[in-house]
Amino acid sequence: MLVQTYNVSKMYSNGVKALSDVTLKIDRGEFVFLMGPSGAGKSTFIKLLMREELPSRGQIFVAGRSVVRMKSGDIPLLRRNIGVVFQDFKLLENKTVFENVAFAMQVVGAPPYQIKARVEETLTMVGLKGRESSFPSQLSGGEQQRVGIARAIVNHPLIVIADEPTGNLDFDTSWEIMDLLAEINKKGTTIIMATHAQDIVRRMRKRVIFLEKGAVVSDSVGESIA
């Protein structure tokens, strides 16, 4: 079991109850959609997995370790197991494609020869070979998201968390990104994707966890969406 949560609740200091009593299991190699209206708790759930926030109640385990009881010095190690893809890409504008991806390896202290080889390999995989020295502003939205995905997977994480990765992309480009995520998933990486895109979820035929007002209202495989 890769991710386990037990009766997790999150109450923010302003009184907003973002999650209540969420108990979930996500297996290694799964592809999971997180769905639900805005404010249902998807983002909070992701933040809890990343240990950006602590739950008010309950237990969370990622790769067998308690995220709640984790010492702050161990948080970086947890995060090296998780790659994150954002709706707005969050690329560094003053760095090239290569540098944006290499950055993720640099800051965890990888040696330069390894960085060069791995970044090239990853960029080839996401289909950006030849665009290494372009800047983000010179790329299309889909290409920028590929850079974001490359950055998320370059350190070989166990889990990729994608927060509305197709939210800013058109229909065709969205499917290219979904194909890429499916390919990454096929190689064994667990994918947790928060999304509003019902057509994508319906056609992917993967597990869907539906949140509403902070609670899990359905958890099933396939097109049966509430």
Binding site: M50, S72, G73, P76, L77, L78, R79, R80, N81, G83, V84, K90, L92, F103, A104, Q106, V107, V108, G109, P111, P112, R151, N155
Partner: protein, 296 residues
């Protein structure tokens, strides 16, 4: 630590210094002024200490002797004074010599004085006594005044008291100025680093998410703060050293009585401490901002 990591830290620090060029300059200048004035205050303090020390050691007690004291009694008295542990030295001044030095002090009124006295010397014999500890002149004087054979005492009581008051005030005021300027410098370094943190918050967020350690994220900021402070400190010390050596070379010959500190070892020690203090300001400033604004 990897060489490539170190290179990365230096590159990041350099980039952000170049990005906030004007603020970096302002910060380095403030650190510079602060360290300069700190150095100035310390030099002033050290040198005034030196002057005071010299004046203090000049403070002496003049003990006038009874006129009918026999030479034997006089010798006994001198012996007694010499053996007092608080006394550094005792010099006998015969009345003739006292008159001569008085004449000398009075200068061109000499003749009038001699005429008025008509060859009679009104001055008694006296001892010039130096105290071992200039700060205890008053208590020593009190002891000596009670001795048999001594008619009158005189010592620079007021001068001594004024000197000590002056030293204390110099100490307090320079401490105050230095603390105030130090706080200003720390504040400016903190502001610079804060701006750097804000201008790089996206990078910092990404670094956090991909699992960079806190120390890795913080290191370039400390490097930047230290570089700012070091640059400022460097110029302050250069100016201070040039100015002081110029002063020594040009003022010392003219005012030979002024006991300026010229010992190069003492000065080098001072400049090194200033360098340490300046860089310390940089580290403290960075520390404040990193803790307050770098949410890692």
């Amino acid at each position: 630590m990897r060489w490539s990591t170190l290179k990365y830290f230096f590159r990041e620090a350099r980039t952000s210094l170049a990005r906030n060029r004007l603020l970096s300059l302002a910060t380095a200048t403030t650190v510079s002024i602060c360290v300069f004035i700190l150095g100035l205050a310390i030099l002033l303090y050290m040198n005034s200490g030196e002057v005071i020390h010299k004046l203090e050691s000049d403070v002496e007690i003049v003990a006038f002797l009874d006129k009918d004291l026999s030479p034997r009694e006089r010798d006994q008295l001198q012996d007694l004074l010499t053996h007092n542990p608080q006394v550094l030295s005792v010099t006998f001044v015969p009345r003739d010599q006292a008159l001569k030095s008085l004449e000398k002090k009075l200068g061109d009124r000499e003749y009038a004085l001699m005429e008025t006295l008509e060859g009679n010397n009104p001055l008694p014999d006296s001892f010039k006594i130096k105290a071992r500890d200039p700060q205890k002149v008053a208590s020593l004087a009190a002891t000596i005044g009670k001795l048999e054979g001594i008619s009158k005492l005189r010592y620079g009581q007021d001068l001594v008291r004024k000197l000590f008051t002056a030293t204390r005030w110099i100490r307090i005021i320079s401490l105050f100025i230095v603390v105030f300027l130090g706080m200003a410098a720390v504040f400016l370094v903190a502001t610079t680093i804060r701006l750097t943190i804000f201008s790089r918050r996206k990078e910092i967020y990404i670094m956090k998410l991909v699992g960079a350690t806190n120390r890795f994220i913080q290191a370039p900021f400390f490097l930047e703060g230290m570089a700012l402070a070091a640059a400022g400190t460097f110029f302050a010390i250069i100016f201070l050293a040039c100015g002081y050596y110029y002063l020594i070379d040009n003022v010392k010959p003219a005012l030979a009585f002024l006991p300026l500190i010229t010992d190069n070892r003492v000065l080098l020690e001072l400049f090194l401490s200033l360098a340490g203090a300046g860089i310390g300001l940089g580290i403290i400033g960075t520390f404040i901002s990193v803790n307050k604004f770098l949410d890692v």
